[in-house]
Amino acid sequence: MTAELSVEGLSFHRDGRSIIEDVTFTAPPGAITALIGPNAAGKSTLLQLIAHLDAPTRGQVYLGDKNLTALTQRDRAKAVAFIDQHSATDQPLTVQETVMLGRTPHLGRLTAPSVDDRQVVKDALERTGAQYLSHRDFTELSGGERQRVLLARALAQQPILLLLDEPTNHLDPRAQLQTLALLRALASEGLAVITALHDINLAALHADRVIAIADGRIMAAGEVAAVLTPALISSLYDVDVQALSSKDGTVFSYSLSSPLKD
């Protein structure tokens, strides 16, 4: 099952301060939509509002014709998976147990996982290439391996929308590329993927669409080639930007015009 995400007039105020203001956009299934913007622009908050981990002050979120804001937490978790930026546990969970957590919204409160649930977990581990980690301890994995397992946990929810908050943070270049390759594979299976990214060049090379936000508002949104221009990046991050062509596509180098200015 696939569906388009459409966010309509989403606003979020906390303590009288506006964090997200009147955000409207759509994200199609089968594509990777990158959410970019400077620190504190509201990327994480926006993702959490879409997943309804915080209740928006105003606005609606639709997935296909389903109003996500009106669903129960449990039903929402069957449609939307969210991978937090700081996803850590102090429990010595095995990888398999970690991925089984993704079945939580599908399990009855009192029932044990069924054969079907175990099969979904197995499939999720296979789809993320993490089955060889099944019996390892989650807390002992490398950053890249953890990200793969968290993706498998998200897949075990059998979502149609996948939200990720900075999934490439603290990963080495190889693991970053593997994570994005995996997102690409999942998108091509029909998932709508929205991921916050710090690295403009990862967004430029691996996303289909880009939404640029600053101060909680959308600055630009659309196809990567149309949106990611030196002018936009320059105004978004307050840096000097140069576009360079590489064999993979256009990338950007940036520098400070006045290093000592704040």
């Binding site: 929402r76 429990q91 010595p92 957590l101 593997q178």
Partner: protein, 358 residues
């Protein structure tokens, strides 16, 4: 699927000859079997051991006589000691031990705090204040009722304090518990300081350290009803507790109302603890130690952890109570002293053995 992702061999470790899952299951089966047999032996030992002479044979004869409703060959005194003193005490110890272990497990999981125990939310000091008011001031309600309401009062105070000005996060809840606990302890000390006389000191101390002396079938009834109506549903809430492993935000994204679920789970544990404390006094260490020790056997999955912790808690408290009865015969130790003496070194061994038990 991108092949570069699937066929990454750099980090590939060869699968162990025995799959970890199979080894885990075998260890769990042996462990549970051991605990069950140990509990059965300990129950029998607890009936037989003591100043009055009752043999294993007598126990069998009397059991059969009770089941078949015939006359046993035991003396009236033996019958009374077995059925009115030792049996209710054994059954109470098991329900209290199991309940405290379940509460400790629930509290540790839902606050993500390895130091959490059943008395986390000021329950012990609340119950103590209620009990001391009865013993010293002579309130006209019975001690268990006063202890129960004392603990519920403390719980209410803690949850209100934790919820004022923000959601009841794990750290806010724990800190509120510490504050309320200090307040109630201070009030208890004040009451003791102002009005206690020599005779009541030992009674107060006995209660504060926990004791199963003087338990009757009424105590069994209270502990059993509390365990069956609250403890069993808590054991069945494993899926929700598991969802807390990666924090509140992940729990919510998995479909669990983290804050509401935590308040409900903590509230239920507190009511159960209050009911148990009302019959046994505040017995420390079981609720802290048993979940950690059991996790070594079952792993962190609450579907296995909770029932095995209940079994281990029942065994540990029954063992501790038997020692408390006979170690300094004819004087009885408060059982809380025994659980602490057994528990502290056990906890130290856990710390040394498992770098991640906590």
């Amino acid at each position: 699927m991108a092949s570069s992702v699937r066929s990454d061999s750099r980090t590939h470790t060869p699968p162990p000859r025995w799959p970890a899952a199979a080894r885990g299951r075998a260890r769990l089966t042996v462990g549970v079997l051991f605990l069950t047999i140990a509990l059965a032996i300990e129950m029998l030992a607890a009936i037989v051991i003591g100043p009055a002479n009752i043999s294993v044979h007598d126990v069998g004869v009397s059991m059969i006589a009770h089941v078949t409703n015939t006359d046993a060959s035991l003396s009236v005194t033996q019958e009374a000691i077995m059925w009115e003193l030792r049996m209710p005490r054994i059954v109470t110890a098991m329900f209290v031990g199991a309940g405290l272990a379940v509460c400790g497990t629930v509290m540790q999981a839902s606050t993500r705090n390895p130091l959490a125990d059943p008395y986390l939310l000021g329950l012990s000091s609340g119950a103590s204040l209620g009990a001391v008011l009865v013993i010293v001031v002579g309130l006209t309600i019975t001690l268990p009722v006063a202890a129960f309401f004392g603990s519920i009062l403390a719980l209410t105070g803690t949850l209100i304090l934790a919820s004022v000005g923000g959601p009841a996060s794990p750290s806010r809840t724990v800190l509120a518990g510490v504050a309320i606990s200090s307040l109630f302890s201070a009030m208890t000390s004040l009451v003791i300081f102002w009005s206690s006389t020599g005779d009541t000191y030992r009674e107060i101390l006995g209660w504060l350290l926990g004791s199963l002396a003087g338990t009757t079938w009424n105590s069994v009834l209270i502990a059993a009803i509390a365990f069956l109506t609250i403890g069993v549903p808590l054991v069945l809430s494993a899926n929700t507790l598991n969802a807390f492993a990666f924090g509140d935000r992940t729990a919510r994204s998995l479909g669990v109302h983290a804050t509401t679920a935590r308040i409900l789970l903590l509230g239920a544990s507190a009511v159960l603890t209050g009911a148990l404390v009302s019959v046994s006094g505040s017995i420390g260490f079981i609720g802290l130690l048993v979940p950690h020790a059991t996790r070594l056997l079952t792993g962190p999955d609450h579907r296995r952890l909770l029932p095995v912790a209940a079994l281990a808690g029942a065994l540990l408290l029954l063992l501790a109570d038997t020692i408390a009865r006979v170690a300094f015969d004819p004087r009885e130790l408060p059982v809380g002293i025994v659980t602490a003496i057994l528990g502290a070194p056990a906890f130290a061994i856990l710390l040394l053995r498992s770098r991640r038990a906590l």
